[in-house]
Amino acid sequence: MPASLGRLTRCAVLTALALALSVAEGLVPLTVIFPLPGLRLGLANLVTVYALCRLSGREALLILAARCLLGSLVGGNLTALAFSLTGGLLALGVMAAALRLPGTSLFGVSIAGAAAHNTGQILAALAVLQTQAPLVYLPPLLLCSLVTGAVTGGISTLLVRRVPAAPFERKSL
């Protein structure tokens, strides 16, 4: 299998996984238990963390963009696309930076990512609604991101440890 085909395949598999995770998460929204708009566990972010750790920043970006585009086709509207892209891109950038910090584990990286995602979504909401009203949701969302980030951080630690990039690359290297 040529190297480029291998890369394409693993990106496609991870995109499908991210899409499935975000749809699955939408079926069981956390907001029913705790009514805070925008609150979610951020399972799709696991794929971004994995791609950043085991693939490359470029591939993580491609997977994210494809997931957001396909997600808005499945879920249905342009506003949702603006939201998932601003949140997702901000989270990706912040996590890529946090991964390079000394003394930091995937817990910190995921918390930073969750907080960045929430901030991005609130920024998008500010732009869409054209009032500063959504800012009120940011402090509680940031505090919740400590919990959701820690949960996804724990899962991604396992994921990155147990699923090395090697199975994807055995033939191409």
Binding site: C53, R54, T104, V128, L129, A133, L138, L142
Partner: protein
């Protein structure tokens, strides 16, 4: 490419710093956004950034339902003495309905698909002239 964070098994000091930064940001925002408290509770309804109505909740005598006009999906808000909620909405996410009652200054109910914001504010002016839309 070797990333130190990807190989760490246990949380380190960097994680503590990140968590502390997130908490600090939340606390600073909370302080900045602290609402003015007052005796008179006012609900302001914004649609697409424009004010379409303002209701003095302290002056509401009994519960009533108010269908909003001009929204993308049909919305009915319910006003009661001192509180307000979105009773029904045709929007797909239903976040606004799940938010439930808002009853204190600074609280917001947001329906993103409808670009609708209901924000509560408190004032101290007992001679507040209620403007309804």
């Amino acid at each position: 490419m070797r990333l130190p964070a990807a190989e760490r098994r246990r949380p380190g000091p960097g994680d503590g710093i990140i968590a502390a930064l997130v908490i600090a940001a939340a606390v600073v925002l909370l302080l900045l956004l602290r609402p003015a408290s007052g005796d008179v509770l006012t609900a302001t309804v914004l649609l697409d950034g424009a004010q379409v109505g303002q209701y003095d909740l302290s002056g509401v005598e009994q519960s009533f339902l108010l269908p909003l006009e001009g929204t993308a999906y049909p919305v009915v808000i319910e006003l009661q003495p001192g509180r307000v909620r979105v009773a029904e909405s045709g929007c797909p996410s239903q976040d606004c309905v799940h938010t439930g009652w808002a009853d204190s200054p600074g609280e917001q109910i947001i329906c993103l698909p409808n670009r609708l914001v209901i924000s509560l504010s408190g004032t101290d002016h007992p001679d507040f002239d209620a403007v309804t839309g």
